[in-house]
């Protein structure tokens, strides 16, 4: 009996999401360790054209459910299709991106097929003794990491945080099959009806929820904040600020980090032209990676920075932006 690894490959409007490729890379490693195949599950309508890319990124087989019911993401038809596929096959591991789709679909499906689900994992490993999947995830607002197992139930399901796994390079001559899978949607209750779907123009997110913050201080200046905005856009992050720069009117009060502002814990905090007063540090020192740029080598921000750059931010940042634009 096969015990394959299945990856749910998310697409929106026919565009494959990056996390799907990341999961194929990770799924392939797990499948190789277990000596099993990697299966990609693709749900949507008129999305067959995406299959070759799934194969070139490592899938031995693509299960394709192509149906008008799956054009837009709605929980019920997607859950129905995915549960059908899981019930028909024999999967050891199921991976899904921890996105606004994956974190909605996965719990519904896990409850339906009666198995465990580990949320928002940042690392996966096979236990060499038991062959169980060790799923590690942050909890308590990132204060701790926990390793979760699902010993008695199969498949072992995990949602994986986007951006933590590496997408593999595509292999042009990779071979894999595409299997069309028919789902009988006649039992669908259509209890939830889509009235409208609107692509949102990005509004500034709450800085406490941003994964990446580019932060400016008195040394940044009004124009410097425009530079920070551009950098934040390129990194997919938000702009935050010290109190001195809020008081000077460079940034809005809701951007302020610190004792009398907000406490933030992003994956990256980039402090530019911020001295690092204790009241500022109180709001950001738990950030995962802190990069500081300051022209004063004895600025206290360097005491908490993982990487400190002594220099003029007005010269360094434009060069960094140019470099990132070339890479994009």
């Amino acid at each position: 009996m096969s015990k394959d690894v299945l990856v749910f490959c998310e697409q929106r409007d026919g565009v494959l999401q990056k996390v799907s490729l990341e999961l194929l890379g990770e799924g392939k490693k797990l499948a190789n360790t277990l000596g099993q195949r990697l299966i990609a599950l693709l749900l949507g309508h008129e999305v067959e054209a995406l299959c070759p890319s799934l194969v070139s990124h490592g899938a031995d087989e693509v299960i394709l459910v192509d149906d008008a019911h799956l054009r837009d993401y709605l929980t019920e038809p997607y859950a129905m299709a995915m549960a059908d596929v899981l019930n028909e096959g024999n999967f050891e591991i199921v991976l899904i991106g921890a996105t606004a789709i994956g974190r909605d679909l996965a719990p519904r499906v896990a409850a339906r097929v009666k198995t465990g689900l580990t949320a928002d994992c940042t690392s996966l490993e096979i236990d060499p003794e038991t062959q169980d999947l060790l799923m590690t995830r942050p909890a308590f607002g990132g204060n701790i990491l926990a390793t979760i197992i699902c010993p008695q139930h199969r498949p072992q399901m995990a949602s994986i945080r986007p951006g933590v796994m590496l997408a593999p390079e595509p292999v042009a001559d990779a071979t894999g099959t595409v299997r069309r899978f028919d789902v009988d949607f006649s039992g669908l209750k259509n209890a939830v009806v889509l009235l409208e779907s609107v692509k949102a123009t990005k509004k500034a997110k709450d800085i406490t929820e941003a994964k990446i913050l580019v932060s400016g201080g008195r040394g940044t200046g009004k124009e410097g904040f425009a530079t920070l905005n551009r950098l934040a856009d390129l990194l997919g992050g938000q702009v935050s600020a010290s109190r001195a720069s809020v008081d000077a009117g460079f940034a809005d009060k809701d951007r302020q980090v610190g004792q009398t502002g907000k406490t933030v814990r992003p994956q990256l905090y980039m402090a530019c032209g911020i001295s690092g007063a204790i009241q500022h540090l109180a709001g950001m020192e738990e950030s995962e990676l802190i990069i500081a740029i300051n022209k004063n080598p004895s600025a206290p921000i360097f005491d908490v920075a993982d990487v400190g750059i002594v220099g003029d931010m007005h010269k360094i940042l434009p060069k960094l932006i140019t470099k990132l634009e070339q890479m994009a």
């Binding site: 929980t75 606004a100 789709i101 909605d104 996965a106 719990p107 519904r108 896990a110 409850a111 009666k114 465990g116 689900l117 949320a119 928002d120 060790l134 995830r137 942050p138 909890a139 308590f140 607002g141 204060n143 701790i144 990491l145 926990a146 390793t147 979760i148 699902c150 139930h153 951006g163 590496l166 209750k189 209890a191 939830v192 009806v193 889509l194 009235l195 409208e196 779907s197 609107v198 949102a200 709450d206 990194l235 994956q267 990069i291 740029i293 080598p297 360097f302 908490v304 920075a305 993982d306 990487v307 400190g308 002594v310 003029d312 010269k315 360094i316 960094l320 470099k323 990132l324 890479m327």
Partner: protein, 262 residues
């Protein structure tokens, strides 16, 4: 209309600090609060009650101390409260937590159930959708706006890059984002009533037995186990570079790549 709001009492994780010496969590003196998304859920229910009239029951599964969270919800204006508390429920993962809450919902009856999207301690965002699945009803997640009338509800459902307007008839479960609204404060009269006039009803497994089989609750009903938990190793002193601008750019790019930000 009968509304159930599920609330979880959680430690204020913003105030949890790490002991730099031992690397363990310092939970002493960290206040317990109503999970922020759940406060938004309470407010959403109260807003529906204000405009349409409704009977709101707040439900929490947890230790006896969760009584305080439920009283707070009563003081905000909820009508009834249930505390699901029994040793039999201990060790529940989200599968077992949601099946237990679903049992309580069946006992109480409902048109609309509101949960938070995510609890700030367990952080899984799984209990709402799983509860709806156990009940065999539809759910709408990530609500950032709710409009309700007597028959149906229209929810603005948030995604990373878009939003959907979704409509459902009752019964339905909705998971609330804290951005949904500004929760009202408890009123003084409300606080007095919450302790003098209103009761927190205790539910044990015996009360839910007819709705949830014993193999679906507690540790036994939980497919997952926490194998171990640990804290990240505290970071050492960082590096300081006094280099040319081009070298500085290179160092930053390499760091961002190393941390998978690029």
């Amino acid at each position: 209309m009968k509304i159930i709001v599920c609330i979880k009492q959680v430690p204020n994780t913003n105030e949890v600090k790490l002991d730099q010496q031992t690397g363990t969590l310092i939970r002493e003196g960290v206040p317990s609060i109503i999970n922020p998304d759940d406060l938004a859920g309470i407010e959403a229910a109260l807003a529906i009650k204000d405009s349409l009239g409704a009977h709101i029951t707040v439900v929490s599964m947890g230790p006896p101390q969760a009584d305080i969270a439920l009283r707070e919800a009563l003081a905000m204006g909820c009508d009834a409260a249930c505390l699901i508390t029994d040793r039999a429920f201990a060790g529940a993962d989200t599968w077992a937590t949601s099946s237990t809450l679903a049992g309580a919902a069946q006992l109480l009856g409902y048109d609309l159930i509101i949960t938070g999207r995510q609890a700030i301690d367990g952080d899984t965002a799984q209990v709402g959708p799983q509860m709806a699945e156990h009940l065999g009803i539809a759910h709408i997640p990530y609500a950032e706006d709710i409009k309700a009338d007597g028959e149906k509800i229209i929810v603005t459902r948030q995604f990373e890059d878009r939003y959907q307007l979704l409509q459902a008839h009752y019964p339905v479960l909705v998971t609330a984002l804290s951005e949904l609204n500004q929760p009202r404060y408890m009123s003084v009269g409300g606080v007095v009533d919450a302790y003098d006039q209103k009761e927190v009803r205790l539910l044990t497994y015996a009360d839910l037995e007819t709705f949830v089989p014993v193999e679906n609750i507690g540790l036994k009903g939980s497919p997952t186990r926490v194998k171990k938990s640990f804290t990240k190793s505290p970071k050492g002193k960082g590096e300081l570079h006094q280099v040319s601008e081009d070298e500085a750019v290179e160092i930053i790019i390499q760091k961002l790549k190393g941390h998978l930000i690029l």
